[in-house]
Symmetry: C2
Subunit: 196 residues, 2 copies
């Protein structure tokens, strides 16, 4: 393989979810693109990195000092939904039902990966609660070992502050087929059953 | 989604084999990379496009006037293997058994996509045969409708020039399971059976 091609191949290989075959196909595709198109792609990458800021309040991605959600006066500041990553904010916003604000931990507790509470935006979360009129914190970390452990940690941390701490519900996904649900999801769905 | 992020998302979406979920994950990953890493990725893209040339003889990708294969004196110039794309050269070279040279058509005949013989490097292929001592042309276009039609076209074009034209063999892939082979491959494998 010629040098310039293998260099771009190696770069693609480093991206998450890109295997060697996809990286190779992408590398050849770059050669087939016009110089202008390649320049535009390269520019979008550099600018995305350069122009993206972190919201000073909730640590979501932002293009200003405060993110779009924190800037909106109609969002209810009394409810904070705690998530691991900015992409979780985007996912919840796609749901379109949540009217509160967010707090992005920028990670999850993980002793194996050496992530301790100090590395998450927990002090800042406590600060927001101490500052004002927060009534409920909904913990929407992922439902895996790290996410659950982080949720328990946050509940213990915040309860003494007199705020209600809730966990997002787990159960069958809407449209999901009982037959294909895993055992853990099914037991949670049974446990969390509601009166009709 | 913030503007700089959605711009890089749109760029990723345009790449082949990148769906909307992968594009989104990649866009967020770019934000998580260091500025230096992003700059390196962007530079690799631009340089791959800028530095990659087309071999003046066989139209393979190259970093000089002639590609690495055409430059090697030990490659047998009497046998030309005709392929559709530069990536096909790379695939055949991975096999490691072929000692001849290549000719990259840079496309395949396709009336539907409006690709006619003049748009392929066929005149140049005829030129190479007229120039010298080529004895055999192995047509290794893909075994789909367009690739087969192109192979037939090339055979008709070259036979009057007194050169032997052969087609790469089709059959069961090595390690392939009879059970999972498609019907067309199986009929070709039977048709092309060899004495043991």
């Amino acid at each position: 393989m010629i040098k310039s091609l293998s260099r771009v191949y190696e770069q693609f290989r480093k991206l998450p979810g890109i295997g060697s075959k996809t990286a190779l196909r992408l590398a050849y595709h770059i050669i087939d693109m016009s110089g202008e198109e390649v320049a535009e792609l390269a520019r979008a990458l550099v600018e995305a990195k350069k122009e993206t800021r972190i919201c000073a309040r909730c640590f979501n991605l932002s293009d200003e000092e405060l993110c779009e959600i924190c800037r909106r006066p109609e969002r209810d500041g009394r409810t904070i939904c705690v998530v691991e990553q900015p992409q979780d904010v985007a996912a919840l916003e796609r749901g379109g039902k949540y009217g509160g604000v967010y707090h992005v931990l920028r990670g999850v507790l993980s002793p194996i990966d050496g992530v301790s509470p100090e590395q998450l935006k927990l002090r800042e979360l406590v600060g927001r609660i101490n500052d004002g009129n927060v009534r409920e914190v909904i913990v929407a970390t992922n439902s895996d070992i790290e996410g659950d452990a982080t949720a328990v940690y946050i509940a213990r941390l915040l309860k003494p502050l007199g705020v209600e701490v809730t966990r997002i519900a787990h159960g069958l996904p809407v449209g999901g087929d009982l037959e294909y649900a895993d055992g853990l999801t099914l037991s949670l769905a049974l446990e969390n059953r509601r009166k009709m």
